[in-house]
Amino acid sequence: MVSVKEIQGAAGLSGDQLLDIYYKMLLARTVGQRERMLNRMGKGPFAVTGEGHEATQVGTAFPLKPGYDWVVPYYRDIGVALTIGQSPRDLLLAHLSRADDISSSGRNMPSHFSDPHLRIVSGSAPVATHLPHGAGIALASKLRGLDEVTIVYTGDGGTSTGDCHEAMNFAGVHKLAVIFVIENNQYAISVPTRKQFAVEDVSTRAEGYGFPGVTVDGNDVLAVYAAAKDAIERARRGDGATLIEAKTYRLVPHTSDDDDRRYRSREEVEQWTARDPLVRYRGWLKEYNVADERKLDGLHEQAAREVDEATEEAENAPTPKPESALTHVFVED
């Protein structure tokens, strides 16, 4: 493969890394689609997926140290979970509420990611309640003198909550090693951002907490990666928090229980579909000869195969036994 280190915009990533990013995006897209399909087939209770957010999610998670840095995702972050190291099997076991589900052993809602070894921290369903958790974890790292970084994800709707404000203010005061990623897809379920905040870029709020805020094109995976890498380096060397606002769009309804035709025009969805981060990144990879058509098609097939196998395995896996209902509330030796 060609040397891509010199390509402007490649952010110093190797060809293998660039393709790994693409593969993670593909996997996230495929898992999202699969979960929605399984839900419509009546096999999964609920699907909340991230199609359209892949560049934001993979781009921000890729510069982290899996198993060392702390990841506090929100429900749309399939791409984050996969990039940190959860497998399609992990996600589908959770989607189908199977006994071996690592996130909650089939207890929690799907897409409430959790993995102790990967340091992916389980969140509650109410929006933005995990942001104070993220600040708290970062405080623990600071008190212990560790150079761990915590990354916390939320949507644009999350920014209107008191929890968001309190977490950011606390992170600013204590100069915590935490990165707040706002996946701004312009809708809090059905509420458009013009009804959510009276500013163009919500990243401007960071100044009011005493740390930098940046707005990036959330459909440009390498731009997102570069912003996240800077923020993570800042945090790791003790310079404190960063707010990253990644502007993107969810290409599918909020969840399997939502009909987005009631609040978004089809024209708008089509416009954003034309900016699909996967299509865009694939074009970039070809343009800079990182991979050819055949290679990229091969990755598509590989992702489909991996998700097929995971689906089959998860479908055949047992559901939790009723007598296990009281386990997994506290840590068990």
């Binding site: 920014t159 209107s160 909550t161 008191g162 929890d163 968001c164 404000h165 309190e166 203010n169 606390f170 600013g172 005061v173 100069k175 013009r194 009804k195 959510q196 905040f197 009276a198 500013v199 919500v202 401007t204 709020r205 100044e207 009011g208 907490y209 005493g210 740390f211």
Partner: protein, 336 residues
């Protein structure tokens, strides 16, 4: 001197109004001092002193229309309450928890100001919970297309609460007729500002909500009045909220249950005492020729007499009767 003349010209204040402002400041000061003394004598349960905040409070409240605009004070706002129209009797009945207390019939903590006729809205003790109420009142005024303004007061500590953020954001999105006044005295009880926020001026946060924020010298009553008048004009023009940060200092402990020597140096308190607005403003007015020693003495005597008379009266008044304990929870139309 030139500055004050300029300020008066800009704001169109008359000499009479300037003297009214001074009298409200002196009255608020005298009430705080009196409550602290009575508390130490064992006659009142608790006091929150507003000493040091008079310029911030009078300067902001003076720009409002009593009984039209909605006022959501916090516990330190004795000068806001008296500027809007509460009397020393009203304040001291609240302090002594008397039966005829307009604030709560003797139920609430002292300094939880409330007056239906004056549209001073009772708040809860938890910090900043009054701000969403202020925003809600402003939303109601907007929906009813009424020319009313809501003002939410709070201290610097409140800016770290979720309620503060949610109020600012909602006010910005809906462009509500609301003004937020942050009386920034540099301490949330014992927590200094540098542990409260990682910024110098909290007013910069307003930009993140889509409306202007200004920081003013909270010990300069005319500067505060000027900022408030601008904010009022903006609201009237349909331009939405403003955040005013008035930088000031509380000269006394947080409350009668606080010992500020544990967290503030005496040098710091002395440095701020030298900037006391209640001392500075009469001096300014004298320089301007609006006030002389005789007139100053007259005002002081009147204020002291008023507070003395109110104290004597209220001390004699009855406490709430036990069988009334369940009243004043809901509006009572029949029983008045």
């Amino acid at each position: 001197m030139t500055a004050i003349k300029e300020a008066i010209k800009t704001h169109g204040l008359t000499e009479k109004q300037l003297l009214q402002m001074l009298e409200k400041m002196l009255l608020a000061r005298a009430l705080s001092v009196r409550q602290r003394i009575l508390q130490r004598m064992g006659k009142g349960p608790m006091t929150f002193s507003g000493e040091g905040h008079e310029a911030a409070q009078v300067g902001s409240a003076f720009a409002l229309r009593p009984g039209v605009d909605w006022v959501f004070p916090y516990y330190r706002d004795v000068a806001v309450a008296v500027t809007i129209g509460m009397t020393p009797v009203d304040i001291l009945r609240g302090f002594f928890a008397r039966r005829d207390d307009i604030n709560s019939g003797g139920r609430n903590m002292p300094s939880h100001f409330s007056h239906l006729g004056l549209r001073i809205v009772s708040g809860s003790a938890p910090i900043a919970t009054q701000l969403p109420h202020a925003v809600g009142a402003a939303l109601a005024a907007k929906l009813r297309k009424l020319d009313e303004i809501a003002v939410g007061y709070s201290g610097d500590g409140s800016t770290s609460t979720g309620d503060w953020h949610e109020s600012m954001n909602f006010a910005g999105v809906q462009r509500l007729p609301v003004i937020f006044v942050c009386e920034h005295n540099n301490y949330a009880i014992s927590v200094p500002w540098r542990k409260q926020a990682a910024i110098e001026n909290v007013s910069i946060r307003a930009q993140g909500y889509g409306f202007p924020g200004v920081s003013v010298d909270g010990n300069d009553v005319l500067a505060v009045y000027g900022a408030m008048s601008e904010a009022v004009k903006r609201v009237r023009a349909g331009e939405g909220p403003t955040l005013i940060e008035a930088k000031t200092y509380r000269l006394m402990p947080h409350s009668s249950d606080d010992d500020d020597r544990r967290y503030r140096t005496r040098e710091e308190v002395e440095a701020w005492s030298a900037k006391d607005s209640v001392a500075a403003f009469p001096h300014q007015l004298k320089e301007l020729g609006v006030l002389d020693d005789n007139a100053e003495k007259e005002i002081n005597d009147r204020v002291n007499h008023e507070v003395d008379a109110a104290t004597d009266q209220v001390e004699q008044e009855p406490q709430p009767e036990a069988p009334t304990a369940l009243r004043h929870v809901f509006v009572e139309k029949e029983r008045s």
